[in-house]
Symmetry: C2
Subunit: 401 residues, 2 copies
């Protein structure tokens, strides 16, 4: 490691703590980073002169001694635009350093096939007022997008998004040109970003190893390994929807037989809950939940059945990844109260070599917005990782919205 990387690394460490944990006193920073007081002073000073953090006089005084000023992130120093392209809706949000959420907007969409161009234009229209209402003097540091599909991170190329009907779409560059953003448009898989969001702002804060399961039409997993997103060699890790779990099962839309999502996904739910074929799309989960609320036995049994299959697959994931936490998002978040018993039952059916009490299965803390929040966090990461070079660079090609 070169000498200048040391400084960058330490700046990033300090900014990351402040970004993730909220305002911290300088002495907190000394303790948690292990760096010297003088060093922290220098680092905070530099971050402060970059405009990324602000020092406030200490508020609460906890015991004797000179009070330590609080170091807090300045949200407007790095604002980002977060986008979500999901099966049933698109959403936009603006957020700032420190996790501050300025605004959020979600619009339902029918499950028709929208072309990439239409979708990108719709997103830009949604984003316009949000960008315009950002505080003056803000600095747009980047754009992040969550897509329900298989994405190459390096350039935001969408290999495949079956539920959007997309195939080989240059989404990254399309978003960049439509939004008038010159660089730093990052695109990632919905589940991966859900995992990131839950790890940073949701139920997974402080948990080093977790798996987020995004159940929409299919099933996707986002994996946090040792506190960092685990993407695999090309970014396709966690594509678990079509893992084989039941060779004697039903035929999947993908052509194979017995894929996990065929047994535990939305279509399996509709079938197990005996919904009429007329109910489709978002209405599947809505109807199932409504009926479950009334205590309808047939529905509850159907939920339990897909819960069991979900649990079996979760057991497999636990054996493979040894996580501390499984976070259920998407439709599993919506149905969690009726689902979690059978999920645990299914998971316990798979023999675990690790003591079972080491894993917890919980409901997503951020709910349907997890991927969107993850997109914001991803965009903010560029600033946090390299504060010195990222600060002050606005990403807009031309001023104005």
């Amino acid at each position: 490691m070169a000498a200048d990387e040391l400084r960058r690394h330490n700046l990033a460490t300090v900014l990351e703590r402040v970004h993730l944990s909220g305002p911290l006193s300088r002495s907190d920073l000394t303790v948690t980073t292990g760096l010297n007081r003088s060093t922290i002073a220098g680092l905070v000073g530099e971050l402060s002169s970059l405009g990324l953090v602000e020092e406030h006089p200490a508020v609460r005084s906890a015991g004797p001694g000179r009070p330590s000023p609080l170091v807090g992130a300045r949200p407007e120093s790095a604002a980002v635009l977060a986008l979500e392209l999901s099966v049933d809706s698109i959403a936009v949000a603006t957020a700032g350093l420190g996790g501050h959420l300025y605004n959020k907007l979600r619009v339902a969409r029918p499950r028709e096939r929208f072309s990439p161009r239409e979708t990108v234009q719709d997103l830009a229209k949604l984003a316009e007022p949000l960008l315009a209402s950002l505080p003056s003097g803000h600095n747009l540091a980047g754009v992040g997008a969550a897509v329900a599909g298989v994405v190459r991170r390096s350039d935001g190329f969408v290999h495949l998004a079956p539920n959007l009907g997309w195939h080989n779409v240059q989404l990254g560059s399309m978003l960049g040109s439509e939004l008038g953003v010159s660089e730093r448009v990052s695109v990632a898989n919905e589940a991966d970003l859900g995992a990131l969001a839950e790890h940073r702002r949701g139920v997974g804060v402080g948990v080093g190893h977790l798996i987020y399961l995004s159940g929409e039409v299919g099933i996707g997993a986002g994996i946090i390994y040792d506190g960092k997103p685990m993407l695999g060699s090309a970014g396709y890790a966690g594509e678990v929807g079509h893992t084989l779990i039941n060779p004697a099962g039903r035929r999947c839309r993908c052509g194979a037989t017995g894929c996990w999502e065929t047994e535990a996904g939305e279509m399996a739910l509709a079938r197990a809950a005996r919904l009429p074929a007329s109910i489709t799309g978002l209405d599947v989960v809505r109807t199932v939940r409504d009926r479950a609320e009334t205590g309808d036995q047939r529905t509850l049994a159907g939920i339990a059945e897909i819960g069991r299959w979900l649990g079996l697959g979760i057991g497999n994931l636990i054996n493979a990844f040894n996580p501390e936490l499984i976070v259920l998002g998407g439709i599993y978040h919506a149905l969690y109260p009726y689902l979690h018993h059978s999920v645990l039952e299914g998971a316990e059916q798979v023999r675990l070599d690790a003591p079972a009490e080491m894993v917890e299965v919980v409901r997503s803390g951020l709910g349907p917005d997890a991927p969107l929040m993850g997109a914001a966090e991803m965009a903010l990461s560029a600033v946090v990782t390299d504060p010195a070079s990222a600060a002050g660079h606005s990403v807009l090609a031309a001023p104005g919205g």
Copy 2:
């Protein structure tokens, strides 16, 4: 990161290159580390004075310019003892920094239940002559052990080793006291170490993401993620033998139904190849291979069947981990020529969202010794990771064997 960690980190980087790639010229080191010539000179000098590396005059002269001396690891500066506790054999080896193998000894064992104490004593007896024949002036830097079981790394506690009939064994400390070694006895899972070995010395050199499959009685996976062993939160990642793959399948020894190893493990092989029940243990694979060599159709069909199941599970792992390489060890190494077609067939049956040509399935390069070599590498890692503090510390409580 504190200031002194920088030096340690750079020393480790240089020593690691030399350890893994063999003798390198100083200018190679400058290029690959990105550090300055002067810095490399200083680092090499320090490693040299610690006795860990040696400089030799440049041999081959490749073009004009002043020849760059070669920096090579000194094996005797950090020798290690590697142990393997496997289902059908135990093995010991001595190796030195740079991957130099001094000696190796493997002894077959019947598949009876040996107590931990017996086994440890046998290992110590095997190790004695190897330790005695190490070059004088050697420095025993540590001991590494590979076990076919679920191991807690921190203290070498064996939770479960079904094929050894063990349960909650303090293997680490038992080995330490039996060998007269005061510290640095590390114990790990066989498959994890197989993966490490293949990554460092086998077919996976230079491959950042690979999965090693160890097929003995059961199936275990060792995962290298981004060049580093992926252990999971508690070290139990890769325990894939009992992942569910066929709910309509046979009952597994573990009590569950349709575990992967029930469909693709050794017992499944014996059944599929229609071996008489009298053939057990090591003889299963031997017999199957012998019959396959003669072209026996029934045997070949049986191998193909378990190959297909193996491939299906591999497809699942590819979807979950997105590796670049799958390395087949254990019985799959032995049967590879008759197996690999059906494995690929099975893997292709699972739909991959990543382009399939990005994954390769290959035969282990180190064969049956992969876990043993991995144990050596694990023990050497302590020295490589922290050269300054590790050098010169011998691990033997008392001199002599």
